[in-house]
Amino acid sequence: MRAKSILTLCDGPTCIYKNSRAIRDALETELKNQGLSDEVGIHISGCLGMCSKGPILIVNPGYTIYGGVTVQDIPEIVQEHLVRRRPVARLAVQEDHLYNRFFRIFGDVDFFGRQMRIALRNCGIIDPEKIDDYLSVRGYEALAKVLTAMSPREVIDEVKKSGLRGRGGAGFPTGLKWEFTARETGNEKYVICNADEGDPGAFMDRSAIEGDPHTVLEGIIIGGYAIGAAKGIVYIRAEYPLAIQRLEKAIAAARENGLLGKRILGSDFSFDMEIRLGAGAFVCGEETALIHSIEGRRGMPTPRPPYPSVKGLFGKPTLINNVETWANIPVIMLDGGEWFSTVGTETSKGTKVFALAGKVHNTGLIEVPMGTTLREIIYDIGGGIPNGKKFKAVQTGGPSGGCLPEEYLDTQIDYESLAAAGSIMGSGGMIVIDEDSCMVNLAKFFLEFTQDESCGKCTPCRGGTKRMLEILTRITEGNGKEGDIEKLERLGQMIKKASLCGLGQSAPNPVLSTLKNFRHEYEEHIFQKKCRAGICSALVTYEITEKCIGCGACRRVCPVNAISGKRQERHAINQETCIKCGQCFTTCKFDAIVKA
């Protein structure tokens, strides 16, 4: 039977401390006593961000929020609200926060209930192509508040107070960046939104723009006001046609409504925006290369300092932030920097969006408070590994990040913890790997990507990644030799130290982290010529077991006639001629062919 009501109980640390687990027991008992267990569902959520009012209990439909709930209150809530359908006014709290708006619709699904949505608060809730929809959910109120009652200085202080850090990957404190740009003199400054999302498997920025483009615009306009810029640019890759189309629509609608252009909302502040398309070079996500690309030059990084905050686009002070960073700004302005700083860990505040992919049941886009563990993400939200396979590693940070094995599953998501574990936060790619993947091959995949995308300006990155890739290829083809591992490590360290930009400096990370955590797989490849996952085809041998009934299907499918045998007798593979194409393996209906 489908539940008529859903009770959501916060299971964040503060609420647990305030006795929420005893409340859960009391609720279950009370519902049973009243005979309501069937029609009322109890749902446990992650931190709901209302810690000061905890323990929090939300009743849906109706989205009634009860705060400061005690075990003694439970019979009253059940009797009054669930039986007599009259909410208990005494315990209800009024909340008009921006974050977690998705909760009314999705709060009862495990996948969503464990999340906290700040940057993605409207994604999947409103029509992204209608400014009316955005206005109706307090859209542009943060901008209006800033223009009505806050000085640029106060805006920057609010961002600093929030503890927000750059969501593009490096994690530089956003407030500081704003302050550095604001204190530069000169009347021409720029604001840039970096939407050049390039990590393989990452789609956070695309989804954010496609789901709620106005949030990003509002953040950028507020940034322009804070640093005294009159012009904003969204740099987005041409591969995102729908995101571009929705952004264009949003910019046009904002202009029509006096939210962009001269004297915004009747104030003295004027600001306008345009879109620049990137051609899809990975390196253009690096801020200096991105700026050169906008200037019409070849997208290549230049050394910093000078930082863009001092000398950026066209030599002018420039504030550049990532899409997700911008999307957080309106919430910080309306719900307050102080509230924002209560979410997350000591050093990393707020939430982080991840594109959860790979060998996990629920692949998708998630936003969780900082401090959530990898285990919670993979098993509670992601639903674990499909097909009963064993977890092997989780890759964060895309081609700049690393692979963490099982013993790191309880690592908390924050910039420092992930770095200490040997990976990085990155922009939000998260790939779950099971036992069927070969770590050497995976490292090779990422290195192929960075090698291909290396802009070629500095030698360590251009030549170094090439040499590393050659060694990796050799290893996966069964020609690895003693000393290869050490050579990879030496090259990797050298590239990290000597490369010009962040991409080169992080390019060896996938190799170095797998060398650290999965060294035995490299050793097996090199010394035993064995690939335990059976991925590196050159290292795989196929053999026919006694299960063979001699049907001859494999013999007929083999392109090099390496299989021989009489009808109804066990066949055999000639390893000399076998090219390891694997066709016999997939053809055999009797599981008689094994990979070794």
Binding site: R2, A144, R206, S207
Partner: protein, 118 residues
């Protein structure tokens, strides 16, 4: 003096009025996911089924809207049906055929199709 905050509040009130004018207060609201990923999974065709059904008059008192991606990649295309006073219903892997059934069984006859729920 009229402040930016006054202006935006007025704009919001107007926006809400326009949304209501589009039929937001209908008994049932239907949201179809329409981000690149959902469209790739076939949500445009699904949207078309709902649109046609409303245009032809077979479906009355329903507010239809697109939305961005909520994040359930492996279950796309997704369709939500929101009714005041009830727990919102979320369907996953909706095909045009399923959309037709959702219209007939859920929207017209109030039958929640349990096996397609997220």
């Amino acid at each position: 003096m009229v402040t930016p905050l006054d202006i935006i509040k007025k704009k919001r009130a107007e926006a809400v009025a326009r949304i209501i004018g589009r039929g937001y207060l209908s008994t049932k609201r239907v949201y179809v996911g329409m981000a690149t990923c959902e469209i790739a999974a076939g949500s445009k065709e699904v949207m078309e089924v709902f649109r046609q059904s409303i245009a032809k008059g077979g479906l009355k008192d329903v507010y239809l809207s697109q939305k961005g991606c909520a994040g359930r990649c492996n279950l796309e295309p997704t369709v939500e049906i929101v009714e005041e006073g009830k727990i919102p219903v979320k369907y996953g892997k909706v095909t045009p055929e399923r959309a037709r059934q959702i219209i007939e069984r859920h929207l017209k006859n109030n039958e929640v199709i349990e096996e397609w729920l997220i």
